[in-house]
Symmetry: D3
Subunit: 241 residues, 6 copies
Amino acid sequence: MHIHLINPNSTASMTAQALESALSVKHTDTRVSASNPADTPVSIEGGADEAMSVPAMLAKIREGEVQGVDAYIIACFDDPGLHAAREVAKGPVIGICQAAVQVAMTISRRFSVITTLPRSVPIIEDLVSDYGAVRHCRRVRAIDLPVLALEEDPKRAEWLLIKEIEAAKAEDGAEAIVLGCAGMSSLCDRLKEATGVPVIDGVSAAVKMAEALVGAGFTTSKVNTYDYPRIKTAMSHRVCA
Amino acid sequence: MHIHLINPNSTASMTAQALESALSVKHTDTRVSASNPADTPVSIEGGADEAMSVPAMLAKIREGEVQGVDAYIIACFDDPGLHAAREVAKGPVIGICQAAVQVAMTISRRFSVITTLPRSVPIIEDLVSDYGAVRHCRRVRAIDLPVLALEEDPKRAEWLLIKEIEAAKAEDGAEAIVLGCAGMSSLCDRLKEATGVPVIDGVSAAVKMAEALVGAGFTTSKVNTYDYPRIKTAMSHRVCA
Amino acid sequence: MHIHLINPNSTASMTAQALESALSVKHTDTRVSASNPADTPVSIEGGADEAMSVPAMLAKIREGEVQGVDAYIIACFDDPGLHAAREVAKGPVIGICQAAVQVAMTISRRFSVITTLPRSVPIIEDLVSDYGAVRHCRRVRAIDLPVLALEEDPKRAEWLLIKEIEAAKAEDGAEAIVLGCAGMSSLCDRLKEATGVPVIDGVSAAVKMAEALVGAGFTTSKVNTYDYPRIKTAMSHRVCA
Amino acid sequence: MHIHLINPNSTASMTAQALESALSVKHTDTRVSASNPADTPVSIEGGADEAMSVPAMLAKIREGEVQGVDAYIIACFDDPGLHAAREVAKGPVIGICQAAVQVAMTISRRFSVITTLPRSVPIIEDLVSDYGAVRHCRRVRAIDLPVLALEEDPKRAEWLLIKEIEAAKAEDGAEAIVLGCAGMSSLCDRLKEATGVPVIDGVSAAVKMAEALVGAGFTTSKVNTYDYPRIKTAMSHRVCA
Amino acid sequence: MHIHLINPNSTASMTAQALESALSVKHTDTRVSASNPADTPVSIEGGADEAMSVPAMLAKIREGEVQGVDAYIIACFDDPGLHAAREVAKGPVIGICQAAVQVAMTISRRFSVITTLPRSVPIIEDLVSDYGAVRHCRRVRAIDLPVLALEEDPKRAEWLLIKEIEAAKAEDGAEAIVLGCAGMSSLCDRLKEATGVPVIDGVSAAVKMAEALVGAGFTTSKVNTYDYPRIKTAMSHRVCA
Amino acid sequence: MHIHLINPNSTASMTAQALESALSVKHTDTRVSASNPADTPVSIEGGADEAMSVPAMLAKIREGEVQGVDAYIIACFDDPGLHAAREVAKGPVIGICQAAVQVAMTISRRFSVITTLPRSVPIIEDLVSDYGAVRHCRRVRAIDLPVLALEEDPKRAEWLLIKEIEAAKAEDGAEAIVLGCAGMSSLCDRLKEATGVPVIDGVSAAVKMAEALVGAGFTTSKVNTYDYPRIKTAMSHRVCA
């Protein structure tokens, strides 16, 4: 089974970190590869960054289809272009936010999400709502640290995350924590140990979900919404007015 | 990895069928065992049947805990006693309804559920709502056939299911179908072939979800709701009035 | 009119307390009896305790049906087995949580619930949602006291409840308080007096609702979901695998 | 106990019919009186009719407060002015729509409402949503007959209602029917008999709810929203522009 | 284009203030007039005040219809009688709460509302829910000042509002503020300047929405719910019982 | 005031049609310009088409910012990139779906949407839900015609739309119709006439909303979510694995 993980931003060190997390949980039989586009934003912090990264990510999926990839993981917690990707791919496409939320709903009854910047909070809240976890998700929190600062100062990131997890336990009654950024992946085990609460890394969750779906023979439904995009004849077009 | 599947009703042939479905999708490394209580209803058709089957099912989990079972599957689509079971088990407990719904939300954007008796429709609607799929699930349909009739006359069951799947495609815009009874498990492949729409069997979905969660090291959160039941000192008690 | 109150746990002193509350509000024409099973948990604190108490509670209802009971009250705030009980009974079955929520929605526009242990909070939140009071119920709070401690140290319980009611008024804007445990029943009047806010005891609410429904001639609908459980032929069954 | 039923429209024959229904279910100890304003619309069919009837209805409640009325019933299915009335009254104020919905949620798991004119359908849908029964209420249906035609041609009304109840059973899976107009009250028993499904008349439901609440000592919370209206000093005021 | 603004309460100075706000944003081509009934409460603080003001407001609309008014604005944040008014008017009827909420949903992703008295909080919460902004609206806050005190001590009102806006930014993550009372209209610009967050005055929002709808040729749909009220033959009616 | 309308697809004739609709409703004082990217799909039918069109659309907005555009309209009913666009623009950005839904919620109580292809139905349902109109929107319907076929055979499109509007009136109780594709814009008046129900074209609605917001001085909140995208230092990046 070949799972391809795409980091939609262009920071290769983040791709490497996500791949490492993926490799640490994958089954021995599974092949996981990873890539990132070369010309997308260096981190995804908000809707415009998301939008700028999706076409290049879809191109990666089109390449994967030629190579016979069985499933894809979008390794950014905003799940950018998730529905679009499912139109392009034959196999399942897993968003790390959706995967993490599904795990959280299975191993706990109430959880909180902790992300980087406050501007991502409403975006994640709306995703959580789309994935049906409005009541299960107590709160989406932010440590107010840019994505790349996670790598630059991992000690500070860890300290801020531990503080926020403790707040989520005390104030939200959170029974599990979802890490709201792919860049937090490598801190997951330490956070679990430090706080005693299950901490869910979306990358790991997504790898296992992808293995599960491919293993059971599921592919993306091509009935209606997720059908392949219609082939468009090029037309002459001109800017008007 | 040891996954134990519990059929909460007492019909061993249904347990055998569910086990067969489980074995057909499990990874070679995974051990799946199955059991059913001896003194529960022969099929679960409504809330009273559910209630009568849960204590014996919890006893099976307690046995499993002694034997070091890694995850449990409750092989009845009403997910009876799911929350209770999670209190008793250390590892993940997967309900086949929740697992199937999570798969359906991942491989399609709109799906319908098809169950046996009309009386189960509101029960499943409420579960689907609890699992966050109100908007994704177009409709819960029933073929109006008792559970045990699935085994007694599989040809008729298959014919009724195909008819209902076609209705779900045409009237609901269903992009995937969830089979709303563990007893439909063995028909899954034929239905998929006959209708051309992804058909999701909860037993298979649950086995792969269990493998995924155990594989990534997830266990049930023991923080708050799913903590082990408090130990109770027996007290004298008498019926009054 | 004969109303039978069932305390699903096996602590007879709690049954006696609930009966006392029931007797204090019932109409002179109404006969209220009460019972509890002998072999269920001594208190219901979570889903496993609930599950272990339901079959014995249903047996009590089956006995009641023979004796011509007109309506039943399940005197535990988690409303364990409520839907199952309605399948078994001809007359109305009232859950004290649902009754209390309906009263709260009628005499106030926003209310809070106060229960015993934090682990019951998500359970009650989900019930409140099922009963349609998501927006009306500001918050479910817990005083973090085991159920039996209510009886053992009623002074401390009262003090904790008063403190929590004051918090609910100040922080939640609660206009009424629902007591989230049958064991708080006897404290209701004192709490009302101490805090000046309507305090709703589910047992009293349920008794009056039962009188109302029986008085108007309502019985449980036997159309579809709440129809009597189907009679099952015993089948041979054996544990497999 | 003195319950006062107010028909907000000015058609005395409808008031008489509602009173008759009330008297037929009330407890022997209860005194039920009824009145209607003299200058409100002859029937309430839509929001403007509602609005025109509320001030006079509130005046009736103010009169009742002087006379020591214990609870009020607003005998129009749109529950016009329900929140306003609760500010004015000390005792509980029961809307027949809310009372019927609460009964329906207790004796069945899914119900439908049948009203007179299609224009009332969205109004009732929004009420049902406010009362928390979105999932429980399958559909609000209309027989497309003006309110007063119920009295003028009761045979035709009965025939149309039976037809609509049968449709609700077959198409909605309705397990109980709520009559969506006070003017249908007198047909309730015949409809129940003709269709074999529980039929809920809001007037009867409201009388019993009122008895229940008063009997248990509940009054309207005067904390915040339902507090008495603030006394206003008359100010000079002039139309401008 | 002629827009008529109706202040449903009888305080002419509030009408004048609302008119001033309207005139400050209206297009030069638009004519805005304003009026208030003479015999309604001096301020609207709760449901009873609302109810007492609606019939006179509807009378103003009936007058407007004769004069050829193109659109109406109900200048009270509770949007009293909004649905009723739409039945009576041919052109659009704009509630200042609905208009402000629509603006807030367009220029921000999360907002908070700040009103006068705590008793209005649940009323506004329910409106916000009816207008579909449950997730977008973080919180409805109150400065606990009666409506008329806004005019009597505008300095204090301004100070309280600034303090509450700062709390909404810090605690709610509010990205925009909706002023929850027509009487706050004149403070809008100063609050925006003092806090650096967009502050939305419902009166201004409503004027522009009315211009937009009339400008595009939209009128109120007369299909079903908002159709003109049915003409009622006066019937003899008498208070009974 | 300068409003710039962007058709995200690359079909200039559709841009011209949308511009024509815009010009027909705009105020004489308003300048409306229009453009479309040159290298995006010729029509937007699904999520992948959306994703491929957004970066070029954002580039158009960046150009507009330099030129001092006051507000933008995204003239595609899926509102592709709406949140992203709001981060990039200073002034308001109006999606034609959101604008149409807001108009529909103001002039009617229940409406239906009619779009082109069935695959867009779930996409629009989710948008309608995000905009808070779940209860107001009865149904999203499709005439099963590709977007470009609207232009190629307008007579057939008109006939199919009339048929579908009649179905929406009869089956959904729709009181207004929202046209679910910018390409239906030119048919709006004829449909209104043919069916007697208000028909809402999103382009016209959006132009008037843009005029309203700019006219009242509203700009997009730069507090949090819609703040300008953070400036990213280019980093070296390489595809890994």
